[in-house]
Symmetry: C2
Subunit: 307 residues, 2 copies
C-alpha cells in the first residue's frame, strides 16, 4: 500500500506546513504509513520555526496521484487551495479550522473542523484523545502555528483554547512564548527583499463567491508605508494576474501586526464588492480597515456576503 500523503494549502503558511508534520507524526504513531509534504516552499517565518526546532522542511509536491491514491488534508478543504489533482485521489481525512466550500467526496471520511484560531489547536486535542505524547520539536512547531495564525493571540480568530494550548505547548517545547513568538513573527515581515510577485503570492488564496473568482492575498508588516510605496507596480501586476488567471477581483490585505489593523488594496472588475463588504470608499484603490487582521474572520465572510 502506498504512503498516504498529508499536506496543507498552496502558498503554505506556518500552520499549514507544521500541521502537516504534526498530523503525519500522529497518524504514524497510530499505525498508518504517512508522509508530510507541502505544496510550496516555507516562507521566512515558517523557515525560522523549522530552523529553531531543527526540523527539515517537507518535500514539495506538484501532484499527488502519481505516487498515492489516498491523502489527508490539513488547514484547508477548498479544492482550489489544494493540490491540482485533488479530484484524482481519495481524501481520507481533513483537519481544518476554515469554512467548508467547494469540497465534495464520494465516500464518508474523517473530518474534524473546529472554529478555533489554528489547526494545531485541534491537532493538540487529537494527540490528547489518542494518548500520544507530543515530542519537543513537534510541540515547538505546533506552538509556532498558533502564534502565526493568531498574531500572538491578537487576532479575533484567537480563542481561549488556542491561548491555553499554546501555553501548554510552550512548556513542552521549553521556550518563552512571548519572546519566541515576536521573534518568529518579525522574521516573516521582511518584505524589502521580496519581489512584487512574491508579495502578492505570499499567502494568497482563491475563493469562489457566487460564481466570481476572488483572489485574496495578505502580508504582515511593521511598516505599511513601505508596502504602499510599491503600490503602482503591485497594481500593474494584480491587473496582469486578473487577466491571466481569470480573477474577478484581487484584494491585497496589508496588515500591521503592531497596530492590529490593515490597509486593503483592491483591483479588478468587482471592486465595488470591497466597498460594500467593508462599508468604505476606496481612494486610489485603497482603504483603511481599522481592527482588521484576520482574512478568515474579517475579510472572507464580509466579501462572501457582499457577493
Amino acid at each position: 500500500m502506498s504512503t498516504i500523503l498529508i499536506f496543507g494549502h498552496k502558498n503554505p503558511d506556518t500552520d499549514t506546513i507544521t500541521s502537516a508534520i504534526s498530523m503525519s507524526y500522529l497518524q504514524n504513531q497510530l499505525g498508518l504509513k504517512t508522509e508530510a509534504v507541502a505544496l510550496g516552499a516555507p516562507n521566512e517565518e515558517t523557515q525560522f520555526a523549522l530552523d529553531y526546532f531543527k526540523v527539515a522542511a517537507p518535500r514539495i509536491i506538484e501532484r499527488a496521484s502519481d505516487e498515492t491514491k489516498q491523502v489527508m488534508l490539513v488547514d484547508h478543504n477548498e479544492a482550489q487551495q489544494s493540490v491540482d489533482d485533488i479530484k484524482d485521489v481519495e481524501v481520507l481525512a481533513v483537519v481544518d479550522h476554515h469554512r467548508i466550500a467547494n469540497f465534495e467526496t464520494a465516500n464518508p471520511l474523517y473530518y474534524r473542523a473546529e472554529p478555533v484560531g489554528c489547526t494545531a489547536t485541534i491537532l493538540y486535542k487529537m494527540y490528547q484523545e489518542n494518548d500520544i505524547a507530543i515530542p519537543k520539536e513537534i510541540a515547538g512547531l505546533m506552538l509556532s502555528a498558533i502564534v502565526s495564525d493568531t498574531l500572538l493571540f491578537k487576532s479575533p480568530t484567537c480563542t481561549h483554547q488556542d491561548e491555553k494550548v499554546a501555553k501548554l505547548l510552550a512548556e513542552i517545547a521549553d521556550v518563552n512564548l512571548e519572546e519566541y513568538g515576536l521573534e518568529m513573527l518579525k522574521a516573516g515581515t521582511n518584505l524589502a527583499t521580496k519581489t512584487d510577485e512574491e508579495i502578492l503570492d505570499l499567502d494568497a488564496k482563491s475563493f469562489t463567491m457566487n460564481g466570481k473568482i476572488v483572489r485574496i492575498g495578505q502580508v504582515n508588516t511593521v511598516d505599511v508605508a513601505e508596502v504602499l510605496a510599491r503600490q503602482a507596480s503591485l497594481e500593474a501586476l494584480m491587473t496582469e494576474k486578473n487577466a491571466k488567471d481569470g480573477f474577478d477581483l484581487f484584494v491585497l490585505v496589508i496588515t500591521n501586526i503592531l497596530d492590529s489593523d490593515s490597509v486593503v488594496l483592491a483591483i479588478g472588475e468587482e471592486i465595488a464588492a470591497v466597498e460594500k463588504a467593508f462599508n468604505v470608499t476606496l481612494e486610489n484603490h485603497t482603504a483603511l480597515l481599522p481592527g482588521v487582521v484576520s482574512r478568515k474572520k474579517q475579510v472572507v465572510p464580509q466579501l462572501t456576503e457582499a457577493f
Copy 2:
C-alpha cells in the same frame, strides 16, 4: 438569544431522530440552549424505540429561519436533505457519518464526521471527551440508532467502534442487545399497512450526481415478494414523481434484513447508470444485488461513479 435548533435529515430514520435528541442533551449540558426538532414524523421503527425508552418524539418543523438564526445538523450535510431554508440560517455544527457534498458555509464551524456506521457512535465519543454522563434513556436511543444503521452489525458500514459502543450503551440502557435489536428492526418492516407513497418516501434521499438528480429510497423487509407484488403501482408513482420533482432517476432498494441482500427497482431516464453501477442487466426494471444492504456504502458511491 434564540434557541439553537438541532435536526437530522428529511424522511427521518432512527439515527437522525435520536441523534438530534442525543446531541441536544449534550449541548445543553455544555451550556448552550438547544432544542431537538425533526423534519418529519418518526417511522414505525423509530417510534418503537421512542416508546420503549419513554422519550417524546421531537417537534416537527417545516422551516428554521422563522424561529432561529443558528442550527446544528446531525446525520446529514447535503442541502437537499436538510430543511428547505437551510441557506437562511447559520450552521454552527455538524455531526455526521456520510460523504460531504453540496455543503458550504461562510464561516468556520464545528464539523465532526467519521467513517463509522452511525452518528450515535461519534456522539458517544463526544460525550466521553466532554465527561458528560449518558442518561439511561439517551443510551437506549443511541443504541437503537446503531442497531438501525448497521442492521444489527450486519451492514458493511458497521465498524468495530459501532459494535463496541453499542455494547457499552446496552449496559447503560439495561437491555439485551440482540433481543431488543431484532424486535426494533422488525417493528420497522411492516410494509403491508403502508401506501405506495409511504413506501417510496420512507427513507428516500435526493442526491446530485454530475448534474443529475437521483432519488434513492430504501425499505427494509423480511419478505421482498410482498413489496414486488406492488411493483406496477410503485412504478407508476415513481414515474409520476420523476416528472413532478425533476428526478432523472428513481431507485428503490428493497432490502431483506434476514438474508442481507437487496432487489433494486429503477425508473427514469438514467436507468442505464444502474446497470453500469452494479454490473447487472435490469429485467422488468429490477435486479438482485447480492450482499447489498447499505445505501451509503454499496449504492451511492457506485451510482456516483457511474454518473
